[in-house]
């Protein structure tokens, strides 16, 4: 029975290659994309920041772009605040944040929660590598 099904599937595939190769390719590409994206579970554009966290025995920071984008345009952090657009390229320290730099412009208990709420930002699994997550749907070489 299984052999029969396999045979008929093979026949069907042969016919398709003759008659509708483009459709088949689209279907397979769809399958591939689906399979790949289901392996990626982080929300698109989440950033892991672990330049110093592990070394200091705190959880790495998970920065969710989606959450901040609802409230601020990109230009607020990437222009007014001068965050480099490259994960790990900003030498953020708690000292600078307390001084009002980087996250500290808002995370000061006025605009957003302050630095006394460590585990709201330092919320990642220990050992995560710094970088952008949830975004590698193209499988390109990427250097984020």
């Amino acid at each position: 029975m299984i052999q029969m099904i396999m045979l008929s599937t093979m026949n069907a595939l042969n016919n398709i290659i003759g008659s509708g190769r483009r459709l088949l390719l689209i279907g397979l590409a769809g399958l591939g994309a689906t399979g790949f994206s289901s392996g990626v579970s982080a929300e698109y554009a989440d950033v892991v920041l672990n330049r110093l966290s592990d070394k200091n025995d705190v959880r790495p920071v998970i920065f969710p772009h989606w959450f901040h984008r609802i409230r601020f345009r990109c230009k607020v952090c990437h222009n007014e605040l001068a965050f480099e657009m490259r994960a790990g390229a900003n030498e953020i320290t708690m000292g600078k944040i307390i001084d009002g730099q980087y996250c500290g412009l808002c995370h000061n208990n006025e605009v957003a929660w302050g630095v006394d709420n460590c585990s709201l930002c330092h919320s990642g699994k220990p050992g995560l590598k710094t970088g952008i997550r949830g975004s590698n749907q193209t499988g390109g070489p990427g250097r984020w």
Partner: protein, 181 residues
């Protein structure tokens, strides 16, 4: 009705589409990044709670962010410092060196709604038509458009969102199309 091979292909396509739709947003404790052992995780907003309220997309955060902004589903702040100058540029550029692909239409307007001019000029793009040797390999490796697209803005699987002007119907001149602002 006789079952034909193309029906199988159609079923595969529909199934793929449904899979992509149905996967939804992962809760923070299951996203592979957040530590479920962190008690504070319960205080953080879940992606599904916020993103399910916004115009749906099939890729990225599954949100059409430009539409969400344009139709005021969201009203993100443009600045913190009152003296910061906000510039919105309404000017399209058509790029023609796209091989056999449709031409690329780059709209300044949605980009400047989100970004400041200095985010791209001249760090990523020299402010002159034809001065930037943009190509897909560079983009895929995170340069030019790929600085954001594929990382934080809609992914590089969405060819036709940029390659949106058919060669056969475009009768104008490539480069700057209009400037109203």
């Amino acid at each position: 009705m006789k079952f034909k091979p193309r029906h199988l292909v159609f079923m595969i396509i529909v199934w793929s589409a449904l899979q992509a739709q149905g996967s939804g947003w992962k809760s923070l404790s299951e996203d592979g990044l957040h530590d479920p052992a962190n008690p504070a995780i319960e205080l953080l907003q879940q992606p599904a709670e916020a993103l399910s309220q916004l115009p749906p997309d099939t890729v990225g955060n599954r949100v059409l962010w430009n539409r969400a902004l344009r139709e005021q589903y969201i009203q993100p702040r443009t600045n913190i410092y009152p003296e910061t100058k906000i510039e919105i540029i309404d000017m399209d550029i058509i790029m023609e060196k796209t091989g056999e692909m449709p031409l690329v239409l780059f709209p300044h307007r949605p980009h400047t709604e989100w970004l400041d001019c200095t985010n791209c000029h001249d760090k990523i793009f020299i402010e002159k038509v034809d001065a930037n040797p943009v190509n897909m390999f560079a983009i895929l490796s995170g340069q030019y458009c790929g600085q954001c697209h594929g990382a934080v803005a809609f992914p590089l699987t969405e060819c036709n969102r940029c390659h949106s002007v058919p060669r056969s119907t475009f009768a104008g001149k490539p480069g700057v199309q209009s400037r109203t602002n």
